[in-house]
Symmetry: none
DNA sequence: CTGCCCCTATTGTATATACAACTTAATCAA
DNA sequence: TTGATTAAGTTGTATATACAATAGGGGCAG
């Protein structure tokens, strides 16, 4: 390739990734802005389109860029804080393991919020909220009991969805990705109803993830995801060097 | 491409990924075994090598396959789950909350590894490993039982440290930051000894974090951190950058 | 003004090819 | 026997090319 502002790593596609990361870190391409097209990068950097494509595609898979066919590639940098959990989708997890995902919708309704529930959404008592309860199965074994509260302002058509076809998580992500996410992980023994739904014994410990999301317009969703301890665990494995690169260092 | 056992998704590389996932799920390629080479897959599936390469590379990036240049592609035994956790230090957590941290070192020894323990470090049976057991207190209430195994190659002076002054976590981080980290979070009910140490009842659920770290030189540490469910939880909250990238966003 | 079509830019996928880098096994020479 | 070299097989990277799919703007007809 021709002489440019690329140096450090040997591999060209890594150099291009670094070039883009630098451009994002330096503020040359602010959050939400468009970066040059593959064609432009190709000419500027003197690499082939396939090589540029690989670099951009990998950064996109890592969640740093957002690509829209026919439009362009946009900066998507999120800022992770302290201990963190990505938003994980149970059906994606299951499919990634090559297993079959099914879900059973127990409840899908609107109701009037009491004091505590309204407060969690920063709304007045008596406001209308949506409420769903879904059990997720991996190869016909229950692995998650999902209780979710959703603000109608955020997802007005929540009640019309068929969540056996598309997970509620996916649907909500499709409406608009949240601007802020909170996760809290507990170990609990759930109540008898949840025990029956998850087909577990009375003393079996469960992982309970409470997830709350916000958009600019305010609180959007609040979910409690309960997993049987013996059948499910949360985990991660990552290379630290990669992670530092994502942070922009 | 020619007619084969591939169907569902439209995209060829997705079909190939599914083909490989099916083969892994069915046991055709057990954990650790070698899958066909790119060249073989190319002929069997009738796709080009670049397309096969993309499929295998993406599965490799997802952690399902392990590729070794010059050797082949292997099924990765451990299936990583979703989500991320940074390396958190219990004493930092406690101090951040303005509370007092104390720790009690129950055990600090070297021992000869049995089959299973050696395997976890990818070493031979009978190799010398370090072992420590420490209970951490927040305002004199036990909040974590820490069991740790450390490779002497990584921290040769581990046994000489005073872990009531500096947490073992901090000490290990100081030697050399790991190049790779794995976290797995379970919900469990610990054994009687751990129950006594943590001063909890027989059925109280606990959060158990298994953390493994690697350096370039190989496996470095393996830790099991057990927290009483009612006294501790893992959490995170972070902002996600706006990705309404279209136009003036 | 409105709706439709078409053109362009951009990303998405697929292929053929080439050479580099690495691993293992086989071969050959001392 | 030992050591070095070679050869074959496999993954890693890079390129050139082609066509498909999508989004948006501009122009044209009504």
């Amino acid at each position: 390739m021709s002489d440019n502002g690329l140096e450090k790593p040997q591999k060209l596609y890594e150099q291009i990734k670094q070039y883009l990361l630098d451009g994002i870190a330096s503020g040359q391409w602010p959050d939400g802005s468009r970066i040059p097209s593959e064609h432009e990068l190709m000419e500027v950097l003197g690499a082939s389109r396939m090589t540029v494509n690989r670099a951009v595609r990998e950064l996109s898979a890592d969640g740093l860029l957002n690509r829209v066919q026919g439009l362009g590639t946009f900066v998507r940098a999120r800022v992770p804080r302290s201990a963190l959990l990505e938003i994980y989708d149970i059906s994606e997890d299951i499919q990634r393991r090559g297993n079959v995902h099914k879900s059973q919708v127990l409840l899908l309704e609107a109701f009037r919020a009491d004091e505590a529930q309204a407060a969690a959404f920063m709304l007045r008592r008596g406001v209308r909220l949506f409420h769903s309860e879904i059990v997720h199965f991996e190869n016909d074994v229950p692995v998650q009991f999902e209780v979710r509260f959703v603000s109608p302002r955020f997802a007005p058509e929540y009640l019309e969805q068929d969540f056996t076809q598309q997970t509620s998580n996916r649907y909500l992500q499709g409406i608009a990705p949240p601007s802020e996410v909170e996760h809290i992980v507990h170990a609990v023994t759930p109540d008898e109803r949840a025990q029956a739904l998850l087909e577990i014994g009375p003393h079996e410990p469960c992982l309970q993830v409470e997830r709350r999301t916000w958009t600019e317009a305010g609180p959007a969703t609040r979910s409690v995801l309960t997993h049987p301890g013996r059948r499910y665990s949360l985990g991660s494995r990552y290379a630290v060097a990669d992670w530092n690169a994502k942070k922009g260092g």
